[in-house]
Symmetry: C2
Subunit: 244 residues, 2 copies
């Protein structure tokens, strides 16, 4: 059976302007791979209501899960929750369960629960809250969409809250063979090995290290024996290659 699929929607002008370099794509990609959920597409869009609505609709229809990051804070440019509600045609308002979380937290911390902070209790109808152990203001899951904060520490904590509840597929086994030769020297034998072991997904990822070309060849397969056979076939062609 094929693994469940997922997409990740990063929301924020700051990524597109280059001001902030994204740290969440790589993190989520690694966690999903561990959970045997195949990340199939990532999109980054700006803080524009219509663009967010369109992307949420498309991606949540196409893939089993959609994760989003960014735009759920207290400021005027935090418009993700409203856009997700619009994408599903449900209403959104300050919800008692989210407000209660913020009330407890602000009381304990001696800070004011002002109108701006209350914005973070705006949750679409029918959505389930996502626990935020870092700064309390929750994310939420509606249908197959998991809406999370963009600040990496909070995003990571929310991913930790969501992932254990999702069902993954068969774990994927992988091994990497590093070959310190230009890809042009590797490509032909590699192509033959890939053809012979068509069940194994084999990718070649070139690099430049100290001015020399090389490639990491990654073998991935849910069948570990099949993966090892392909790995060993290529290893024998390149005796100087090694597992990094």
């Amino acid at each position: 059976m094929a693994n469940p699929t997922a997409a990740f929607l990063v929301i924020g002008d700051e990524i597109l302007s280059g001001r902030t370099h994204d740290k969440n794509i790589g993190f989520l990609a690694e966690r999903l791979t561990e959970a045997a959920i195949d990340l199939k597409e990532v999109r980054v869009v700006d803080d524009d209501h219509n663009n967010i609505v369109r992307a949420v609709r498309e991606l949540s229809k196409t893939w089993n899960h959609l994760f989003t990051s960014g735009g759920i804070g207290p400021t005027h440019d935090d418009i993700t929750a409203d856009a997700v509600a619009a994408a599903f045609g449900v209403s959104i308002d300050i919800r008692d369960d989210a407000r209660a979380l913020l009330e407890t937290h602000t009381k304990r911390s001696g800070i004011e629960l002002n109108d701006a902070r209350l914005r973070m209790a705006r949750i679409p109808d029918r959505a389930a809250l996502i626990d935020n152990p870092v700064s309390i203001a929750p994310g939420f899951t509606i249908s197959n969409v998991h809406v999370m904060a963009g600040v990496p520490a909070i995003f990571q904590a929310m991913v930790g809250s969501v992932l254990p509840g999702l069902v993954g597929g068969a774990p994927i086994h992988s091994r990497t063979l590093r070959i310190d030769l230009p890809e042009g020297e590797i490509a032909e034998p590699l192509g033959k090995v890939a053809q012979l072991h068509s069940k194994v997904s084999i990718g070649s990822y070139p690099f430049i290290l100290k001015g020399k070309f090389g490639a990491n060849v990654v073998f991935r397969c849910s069948d570990q024996v099949a993966m090892n056979l392909a790995f060993s076939d290529l290893s024998q062609i390149f005796p100087k290659a090694f597992e990094p």
Copy 2:
């Protein structure tokens, strides 16, 4: 007049599996901002012919420019050039100008121009070559699509070859005000400043530093005077804020 717009399509299983953390999005975002071209969308897709074709069609129709990275090397999983040709319905084969570049380079370096390396001379009809000063095998531009390598050193060199030929818009001026307070304390006055200076794009980007919350508020506008007025209005409300 509005700035020209752009999208960036990152092609590669290795980004989606988390094996490689992307370094090109942040780089291209910064260069485009400098060139006054607005990056409006980023997508990451896997090494799948149909997914690449669909993304190239959609993004090249929607935005003024499309940049792509990845999948133009010599190995069996390098399928970008063929997918881009298919997206435009043009034929693709080994082209004499690209082959000549590779021939000169391999002869000079004493390496063999084998079939795998010749794959890198497959260029769609009508495309113009993009110079690759790092490893010679060229990228190409067809219509409004600029197809480049994924290895960061080569990607960066190719961006350097392409950008000077594109026409940008009015340069955007920007200033950042760092406020060492939680966004919940900033949001209300910030909202009022944003409403008052609606011409200026104002974004709030929260962070956690040594366990304390803060936010960088970024003011962006092609009109420098308008930007400075908005900046100064917010500065007066938060006298401890500073330009980082």
